[in-house]
Symmetry: C2
Subunit: 205 residues, 2 copies
């Protein structure tokens, strides 16, 4: 639901049309999560259906202008005041992959971990390179108002978020490696982590 609420928050700031909403969104999140235009319009349709926004005619250039409603303003307020994530974290593909790699025989978990670490470290370098670019491109000192409304700061914070997540991923991979080594050395769970055949038939019932 993040796109829906993000669009609502932008509409709260100012009435806008679809294409403009995409531009504003991407100005704040940069190249991280390019927003497909189609999704903007479908989301706007749903927002109108749910009474959170409505198309309010056209401006001078023929753009369909959307406005937020009072219900929409309430929705934005609750979105900002309600923390996210405590219920069900989104499925983590890497965690699922490793959980399967550990339990399914015939998979070399060590290689999976090593390759993933390399890829994540490469991504980390990309992020730091992007951060350098962003720092260079930013206005060194915009006295009163540079017109960006802090969009470059937001984009920088998003980048930091990716960096922190990638670093945590690498730490977790190291942690998995050492735990697997310990398990292989000790008595418990010395199977898997190497290709050993003949899995016992163990159904659910």
């Amino acid at each position: 639901m993040s796109v829906k609420h993000a669009l609502l928050a932008l509409l709260e700031q100012q009435p806008m049309y679809g294409y403009q909403l995409r531009a504003e969104f991407e100005q704040r999140t940069g190249t991280t999560w390019p927003l497909n235009v189609g999704q903007v319009y479908t989301t706007l349709t749903r927002l109108e259906r749910d009474g959170l926004a409505f198309a309010d005619g056209e401006d001078g250039e023929g753009h369909v202008i959307y406005r937020i409603t009072d219900a929409g303003r309430d929705e934005v307020a609750t979105w900002f005041t309600t923390p996210v994530g405590r219920t069900q974290p989104p499925r983590d593909e890497l965690a699922i992959k490793l959980a399967l790699a550990v339990t399914v025989p015939g998979v070399d978990v060590g290689t999976v971990i090593q390759q993933q670490r390399s890829a994540t470290m490469a991504a980390l370098q990309d992020y730091t390179r992007l951060k350098r670019q962003a720092a260079a491109g930013a206005v060194p000192d915009a006295g009163a108002d540079d017109g960006s409304g802090g969009a470059d700061l937001a984009w920088s914070l998003v980048l930091d978020s990716l960096v922190f997540a990638a670093e945590a991923e690498i730490r977790w991979l190291d942690h998995c490696e050492s735990r697997l080594r310990r398990a292989a050395a000790g008595g418990v769970g010395r199977r898997n982590a190497r290709l050993d055949e003949e899995a016992p038939a163990r159904g659910a019932r």
Copy 2:
């Protein structure tokens, strides 16, 4: 695509029926990501459509047994050997929320951050509590094979992944707070972060 590949990996280990696949999946990921049964069957249908698995009659109890194909085995192999995430990381709702909170006037970013930190720390405590339970429930020393096939180890690693992610989130929130404080003190971007009205009209064109 993580569910699709996870089911394929399970089918590579052994032919199974739908309900059994869900049980095997949840045994490895615990209560983290409960898998809806319906998704299993729709995914199986798609797997059959794409030639990665096929329904191979019934077993004694009348269960529809699915088998993996050679193409499916290839798919699993490439899944395990190809790292994940370098292309487009999944949308992070929290990052989007904060990016919007920073750029949209009238939002108290400090409160958003503080509330989120509290919620994340609560989740962190839940995770460590679950880890204690898992450690207590695990077989202390299963000499040869406890029949779980390392499912408890996988579930424990998944939990660790959640812990690492939550810790990184908290670190990022602290980082955001200090950056915002610095921005508020310095010259650049002293707007936002406080409710100041009268946003200048700045459209995309």
